[in-house]
C-alpha cells in the first residue's frame, strides 16, 4: 500500500514537473489528435493527462470539455499498465458499462488508449481514440497508435528536457563562475594524479593555462623534492581521512618556486579535490624571521659572553673585594645574564631544530645510559628542591636515539617536573616497551595541567599560570625544544594529567631491532651517510658499504639493502644476486 502510494506521489510529482497541466492548447499536440482521428476514422481523439483527481485533455478533438472526474476516466484505467487499453464495446465491459461517459455524452462505445510516459518512466497520461460505436482494432492499428503515442511522449518531454538542459547549463555556469572567482586555487585530480580540472586562481598561481594543465600529472608541476608527498596524501584520503593538509612547492615554467598549502578531500572514488593556497609570502616571512632569530641570537651571544665573564670576575673579587651592596648587585646582574644567555641558547636551539639544521643521528643506545646522563645534570636541581628522583629502565632494552639530544629532552622534562613538584614528593622517569616502541615517561606529583592546556604546554613561552615564568625561572622553551627533538626522532610526545594529581609527560622512540641489519651502499660518501641516518631512524642496525662487491663479500646476512644507485644501471649489482641477501624488497 505504502509503496503504491509513494509511487503515485512520485508520478504526480513527475507530472507536475512537466508544467503542462492547465496550459493552453498547443498545435504540436492538436496536430496529433487530428492525425489520429483521421487515421482511425474516429470522431474523438485526445491527449489526456491524469492528475490526482481528474483527467485533463492537453489536446482534444471531438469533445467539448477539457476535464472529467478521474473516477470516470478510461485513460486513468489505461495508465495502470504499460500496454495499450482497448475497449471494443464499453456497454459489454463490466468496468465501463455504467460509466456516465458511456451512458451519456459523449456516449463512448469504443476506446483505444496508449499510455505516454515521462523520461523517468512514469505513465502520466494517454493518447487515445474514441468512437461512439463498437469497433474492432487490428494489430496494425495498435502499432500505429503506439507510434503516435511515442510522438506525443517526445513532445511532452521535449519541453522538460530543454528546461533541464537550460537549468543544468545555468547551474554549471554558476558553479564555474564560483570556481573561477575563488581566490584560492582549486584542482580536481584523478586517482592516477592527473589534473581533471583546475580553476583560474590555480592557473594564475602556476602561470600555465588550464587547457595545458588538464590531463597533466600533478607531479610534473611539483618540485622534485615534494613529489613523494602527493601519492602519500592520496593514500591517506583513500584510507578514510576526511581532509589532509600539507605544504608543498610547485615550479613555474620560468623556474620560479611557489610554496602552497594544499588541503585535499576525496570528492568521489578516484577523484580528489584540492584547495591550493599560495603561501610563498608567508614562507618568505618565516624564513626572514628564522634568519633574524638566528642572526640576532648569534649577535647577542658575543656581548653576553663578555658581560657574563666580566661579572664573574667581579663577583669572584678578581678585581678587588667589592663593598657588600655592590657585591649583591653584581650577583643579580650575573644571574640574570646567565638566564638571558640560556634564553638565547634555547631560542637558537629551537630555531635550528625546527628548521632541521641540527643533525640528529640516532644509534643503538641503552636507556639506562640516557637516564644516568640525565640524572647527572638534574640531581643537583632536585636536591635543592628537596625532590626525590627515581629511575627505571630494563637492562635488556636498546633503542634508537641520538644520546646528546634525547638527554637534552629528558633534562628539560625532568627539570620541568622538579619545578612543579612540592618538596618531599618524587619524580619518576621510566622507559618501557609498548606496541613495538620505546615509551619514556616522566611523572610528577605536582599540581597537574588542566585538560585544555595539555597540548599548549609544548608551545613556545606557554605556561599554565602566567606567574610561573618568573617564579619557576625557566626560559619557556624547554618543552618546545623537547618536542622538536622527539619529532626529529620520528617519535610522538604528549602530556597526560588529571588536574591536581600530577602530570605525566610521555614520548616514544623507535626500538633498536637487532634482528634486522640493513646494508646501505652508495658510491658517494654523502649519500651513504644520509641513507644510513634515514634507516637508523627506523630502528635498524646499519652496515655501510662503499661498493656492491664489498657488500657481497660480507659474512652478515641482511634483511634489506638500501641504495640510491639505480640497481639496473650499476655494473656491480649482479654480484649481489648470488650473494648475501635473504630477501631484497623493492
Amino acid at each position: 500500500m505504502g509503496v503504491v502510494a509513494t509511487r503515485e506521489a512520485d508520478r504526480l510529482a513527475a507530472l507536475r514537473s512537466l508544467n503542462i497541466l492547465d496550459t493552453p492548447s498547443e498545435e504540436r499536440f492538436d496536430r496529433l489528435t487530428r492525425i489520429a482521428a483521421a487515421a482511425f476514422d474516429a470522431p474523438i481523439s485526445t491527449v489526456t493527462l491524469i492528475d490526482e483527481d481528474r483527467q485533463w485533455h492537453k489536446a482534444c478533438l471531438g469533445v467539448s470539455g477539457r476535464e472529467d472526474d478521474r473516477a470516470v476516466s478510461f485513460s486513468a484505467v489505461a495508465i495502470e499498465r504499460p500496454e495499450p487499453l482497448v475497449v471494443n464495446d464499453a456497454c459489454e465491459d463490466p468496468r465501463f458499462a455504467d460509466n456516465p461517459l458511456v451512458t451519456g455524452a459523449p456516449n463512448i462505445r469504443f476506446y483505444a488508449g496508449q499510455p505516454i510516459t515521462t523520461v523517468d518512466g512514469f505513465r502520466v497520461g494517454t493518447l487515445c481514440v474514441i468512437d461512439t460505436r463498437p469497433r474492432e482494432f487490428s494489430t496494425e492499428q495498435l502499432a500505429l497508435l503506439q507510434d503516435l503515442a511515442r510522438i506525443a511522449e517526445d513532445e511532452l518531454n521535449h519541453k522538460e528536457l530543454a528546461e533541464a538542459l537550460a537549468a543544468w547549463r545555468e547551474s554549471e555556469q554558476r558553479f564555474r563562475a564560483v570556481f573561477d572567482a575563488a581566490a584560492i586555487g582549486i584542482v580536481l585530480v584523478d586517482g592516477t594524479g592527473r589534473f581533471i580540472e583546475v580553476n583560474a586562481a590555480y592557473e594564475a598561481m602556476l602561470g600555465i593555462p588550464a587547457g595545458e594543465l588538464r590531463g597533466l600529472p600533478a607531479a610534473s608541476v611539483t618540485h622534485p623534492a615534494d613529489r613523494d608527498g602527493d601519492p602519500a596524501m592520496y593514500e591517506r584520503l583513500r584510507r578514510g581521512e576526511q581532509r589532509v593538509r600539507r605544504e608543498k612547492r610547485y615550479v613555474r615554467p620560468d623556474g620560479s618556486v611557489v610554496w602552497a598549502s594544499v588541503t585535499a578531500s576525496l570528492l568521489a572514488p578516484g577523484v580528489s579535490i584540492g584547495m591550493v593556497e599560495d603561501i610563498t609570502e608567508r614562507k618568505e616571512i618565516e624564513r626572514i624571521k628564522d634568519e633574524l632569530v638566528s642572526v640576532v641570537g648569534h649577535e647577542l651571544r658575543t656581548p653576553l659572553t663578555s658581560i657574563r665573564g666580566s661579572l664573574g670576575l667581579l663577583e669572584a673579587g678578581v678585581a678587588g673585594a667589592l663593598p657588600p651592596e655592590a657585591q649583591e648587585m653584581v650577583v643579580i646582574a650575573r644571574q640574570n645574564t646567565e638566564r638571558l644567555a640560556r634564553l638565547v641558547d634555547d631560542t637558537l636551539d629551537l630555531e635550528r631544530l625546527q628548521a632541521g639544521r641540527v643533525d640528529v643521528d640516532p644509534r643503538p643506545v641503552r636507556p639506562a645510559e640516557l637516564l644516568a646522563a640525565t640524572a647527572q645534570v638534574v640531581q643537583p636541581v632536585a636536591d635543592e628542591a628537596g625532590v626525590d628522583l627515581r629511575w627505571e629502565a630494563p637492562e635488556s632494552l636498546e633503542l634508537m636515539a641520538d644520546p646528546d639530544r634525547i638527554v637534552q629532552a629528558l633534562v628539560n622534562l625532568v627539570a620541568n617536573a622538579i619545578k612543579f613538584s612540592p618538596a618531599g614528593t618524587c619524580v619518576r622517569t621510566c622507559v618501557e616497551t609498548r606496541d613495538g616502541e620505546a615509551l619514556v615517561s616522566v611523572a610528577d606529583d605536582g599540581r597537574g595541567i588542566p585538560a585544555d592546556q595539555l597540548d599548549a604546554v609544548f608551545e613556545r613561552f606557554q605556561q599554565v599560570d602566567a606567574s610561573d615564568r618568573r617564579e619557576k625561572g625557566g626560559t619557556g622553551l624547554g618543552l618546545a625544544i623537547s618536542r622538536a627533538i622527539v619529532d626529529q626522532h620520528a617519535g610522538r610526545i604528549w602530556a597526560e594529567s588529571e588536574s591536581g594529581q600530577g602530570a605525566t609527560f610521555r614520548f616514544t622512540l623507535p626500538l633498536y631491532r637487532a634482528e634486522g641489519t640493513v646494508a646501505v651502499y652508495d658510491r658517494r660518501a654523502t649519500g651513504r651517510e644520509e641513507l644510513a641516518r634515514a634507516v637508523r631512524r627506523h630502528g635498524r642496525r646499519v652496515l655501510i658499504f662503499e661498493s656492491p662487491e664489498a657488500l657481497a663479500a660480507s659474512s652478515e646476512r641482511f634483511v634489506a639493502v638500501v641504495t640510491d644507485a639505480r640497481l639496473d644501471a650499476d655494473p656491480g649489482v649482479p654480484v649481489l644476486r648470488s650473494g648475501a641477501l635473504g630477501e631484497l624488497p623493492g
Binding site: R301, P303, T305, S306, G309, S310, L313, V318
Partner: protein, 120 residues
C-alpha cells in the same frame, strides 16, 4: 710569583681584557694582549713569551696562519694554545698546538686550563 710571560692574540678587545684580568690576577701570568698576526709577530720579536694563547677566528690572518708565522720565531718548547668556538681540536692539535680551549671560556676557569696545558 709570576707564572711567566703569556702572549694573548684575539681580535676582540673585550675578550682580551677579560682574559687578561683572569690570567694576571688569578693565574699570575704577565700578559701581553694583541689583536692581529702582525702585532703578535712584533710582540714575539720584542720579547719571547713563555706561552701563547691564540684565537682561531680572526679577520685577515686567522689563528692557524698566525701560528705558522710565529712557530719559527718562538722556537721549540713554547706551548701555543688555540681558542676556538668550533669542534676542531683534532685538526689544531695536528698542526702542533699544545692544547685547545673552547670558546666561550669561563674566565675564572681559564687560568686553571692554561696551567694544565703549559705545566712543564
Amino acid at each position: 710569583m709570576s707564572a711567566g710571560r703569556l702572549l694573548l692574540v684575539d681580535d676582540e678587545p673585550d675578550i682580551r681584557a677579560i682574559a687578561t684580568m683572569a690570567l694576571e690576577r688569578v693565574g699570575g701570568w704577565e700578559v701581553t694582549g694583541v689583536g692581529s698576526a702582525q702585532e703578535a709577530i712584533d710582540a714575539v720579536n720584542a720579547q719571547r713569551p713563555d706561552a701563547v694563547l691564540l684565537d682561531v677566528m680572526m679577520p685577515d690572518v686567522d689563528g692557524p696562519a698566525t701560528f705558522a708565522r710565529l712557530r719559527p720565531l718562538l722556537g721549540d718548547g713554547v706551548p701555543v694554545i688555540f681558542l676556538t668556538a668550533k669542534p676542531e681540536a683534532e685538526r689544531l692539535l695536528a698542526l702542533g698546538a699544545a692544547g685547545v680551549i673552547a670558546k666561550p671560556f669561563d674566565p675564572l676557569a681559564l687560568p686553571r686550563e692554561v696551567a694544565a696545558i703549559t705545566r712543564r
